[in-house]
């Protein structure tokens, strides 16, 4: 690894392999030290994922059939929808993402987890704040800021917990014995620093005097976009950059591509927030800036995709064998697809048609589920056996989870995207005499698709939840060899 520090790097130089350079016994000791905090983050994240699945399913049914549960105020669409977005983002996304972050930082820094109690305390603060926040939303108490509905009191608790985790992470980073940070570590450090900053600033803009209305909306849009496109994306990419080379046992294709990808990401991703208010009552230059940044992000989309695909080159059959690779590579491809759709959707000509339709929700779904969550599932399939000391019980259960999550998530995202296009294009017809409500009916077949998507996702999550529980109870196959779909060498049959 030190070679990269001193010598000028040829453009095709392979990036150093992540953490295979040190003995297995040391890796096992690090895993041992990370066990409780990481399991705590994963377990809690998974509980939120289950709740989010229920909320998401209810919201999808309500969208199709408005009378469903309309007698129960706390389950009405206007409350369930923000409860869903907040549980999937701040419950599942953040907690599972932090679990992966802690484990990766320890492994890649070649350092044992010290003071795990700080991490668990941080997680408990986060949990208490989030639980109060979600109960608040269901009860009708929200800030009114889209994407940041959690009342400020609860948000402060969450932020305190988060700061404990970040502080701990930076101590760990400072004590690392692997001095040159691996690609994944760049993304993780960026993610850790970005989140509290934009989250706190969005709440502050709402509370401080003399911040005119639309600036509050702009800051909230910026923070929500950062949450999705910086925080979740960075953790997802960090995990993909670690897992893909690791499982197929070859270094990342090109260090330089990774460098370009990372710096274009960190420079442009944070500037894209205002596309959420495109056409809205904010100064036009802000939107133009964000659209330009979205277009420039193409550099990252191309370099990251090329790098990960070229790393996989010749090893694509591994998606038949390894659950980790199947989930992670699916997620990596979903990253490319969602980023390209996001780029087109930011252009004024497209945005003016799909803005305010379900298209945005479809895109968010693609990022948060088909990309981020799939990569995190892959990471959990890889990490968990190393924490509990046994391998996953059943490859059929992993397979079921994959099909539910991949097909269900895909169906859901596509339904919402097409529903958005259908509404958008009908609305754009200038001489359309139809009333708005009749135009919306063009999207209703797609909304049925969304419900089916949710049902498949829910089935996948049930299987995954059960499998996770079995692992916690150490019911699985003996440790050592990972549970594969098909043993390596038998791919000809497929």
């Amino acid at each position: 690894m030190t070679a990269v520090d001193t010598a000028p790097i040829p453009t095709t130089a392979p990036a150093p392999a992540a953490d295979t350079a040190y003995p297995a016994a040391e890796r096992a000791a690090i895993d041992d030290s990370a066990r409780w905090p990481v399991l705590f983050f994963f377990g809690n994240g998974l509980l939120w994922l289950m709740l989010a699945t229920v909320f998401g399913l209810i919201a999808a049914i309500e969208l199709y059939s408005p009378n469903f549960l309309s007698g129960v105020p706390f389950l009405s669409y206007g409350r369930i929808w923000p409860a869903f977005t907040n549980t999937i983002s701040f419950g599942w996304g953040s907690l599972a993402g932090l679990g992966v972050t802690i484990w990766l930082l320890a492994r890649l820094g070649r350092v044992r987890v010290k003071f795990p109690g700080v991490l668990v305390t941080g997680a408990v603060f986060w949990q208490v704040g989030l639980t109060y926040g979600i109960i608040g939303i269901l009860g009708g108490k929200t800030t009114g800021l889209e994407g940041l509905e959690i009342p400020t009191g609860s948000a402060v608790l969450m932020l305190l917990g988060y700061l404990l985790v970040v502080l701990w992470a930076f101590l760990l980073f400072g004590f690392r014995s692997q001095t040159t940070p691996f690609i994944s570590v760049w993304y993780l450090i960026a993610a850790l620093l970005w989140f509290p900053w934009s989250f706190a600033l969005a709440h502050a803009a709402h509370l401080l005097p003399n911040v005119p209305g639309v600036v509050q909306s702009l800051v909230a849009a910026w923070a929500s976009q950062n949450f999705l496109n910086v925080w979740l994306t960075a953790i997802g990419l960090a995990a993909a950059y670690y897992l893909i080379p690791k499982v197929i046992n070859r270094p990342v294709h090109s260090y330089n591509l990774a460098v370009y990808g990372f710096w274009s990401f960190i420079l442009f991703a944070g500037l894209t927030g205002a596309v959420r208010l495109s056409g809205g009552p904010i100064p036009a230059w802000v939107v133009t800036l964000s659209i330009s940044a979205s277009i420039l992000l193409l550099v990252q989309i191309v370099t990251v995709t090329t790098n990960l695909v070229l790393t996989m080159r010749g090893q694509f059959h591994m998606v038949y064998h390894s659950p980790t690779i199947r989930f992670t590579f699916f997620g990596a491809i979903a990253f490319t697809v969602s980023s390209v759709i996001g780029l087109f959707a930011s252009l004024r000509s497209v945005d003016s048609i799909v803005h305010f339709t379900q298209f945005q929700n479809g895109l968010t779904q693609l990022v948060i589920y088909s990309f981020f969550s799939m990569v995190i599932f892959g990471a959990i399939y890889y990490i968990l056996p190393r924490l509990v000391g046994c391998e996953w019980l059943s490859s059929s259960m992993i397979s079921l989870h994959f099909w539910g999550a991949a097909y269900g998530g895909g169906l859901l995202a596509l339904s919402l995207l097409f529903s958005g296009l259908a509404t958008g294009y009908t609305l754009a017809e200038p001489d359309s005499a139809a009333r708005y409500i009749q135009i919306l009916e063009t999207s209703s077949p797609y909304l049925v698709g969304a419900i089916f998507g949710w049902v498949l996702i829910a089935l996948g999550h049930l299987v995954f939840g059960l499998h996770f529980l079995l692992m916690l109870l150490r019911i699985g196959q003996p440790g050592g060899e990972p549970t594969l779909f098909v043993p390596v060498g038998e791919e000809e049959k497929h």
Partner: protein, 227 residues
Amino acid sequence: MKRSTYLLAGIVGSFAFSTFALVLVPQMQLGGMQPQFAEDEGKIVDIYPIENRGIVEAGREVYISEGCVYCHSQQVRDEQNGSDLERGWGVRRTVARDYLFDSPPLLGSSRIGPDLANAGSAKWRNEPADENFGYKPAKRDEAWELLHLYNPRVIIKESNMPAYRNLFVERKISGQRSDDALDVPTKDGWEVVPTAEAKALAGYLLSLDKSHALKEVKTAAAEVVAK
């Protein structure tokens, strides 16, 4: 300098720049914004917008609490961005000044129902209420709003809006029937009356009007029937 120092400096620098461009500069540009005053012979005759007070502020709270914003936007885009003006959702695009006193403004990002930026404008209120059945109010007034909240499909047959029964109480008539009672079928000797929240919400909806002329934006001449 160490590699990790460059890394940290780069990350901090990039988000400092992002904050500067998307938070600080817009705040500097819009932070000093004032309402528009119209003067006539030295006297102020018109101020727009005005602060949300009383029933408007209370209704806004209900609007936020019930999550109306997840289906109804409150922003009108210009001709280059969609067909809002052609659909009669407003006579001009909405601009930053319209939302000066809203903390936060309820711009919305999804239109599962129509835009409500001008739901209380004179034009919208006086429009003959559309093809409804069972109930034919002459105008979109408070009674229209309350009935629509109680059961949207009594007024608009294909409406996809959920009914907000929780904003109403069904009670036994004691003495005289309440003046507020809705004109809906119910058990004999009972009546359906709006709660304070429902009345505030209706009041807020009827206050929504962003058709006031502003010097920074062109108001369209043609009046289009909202659809």
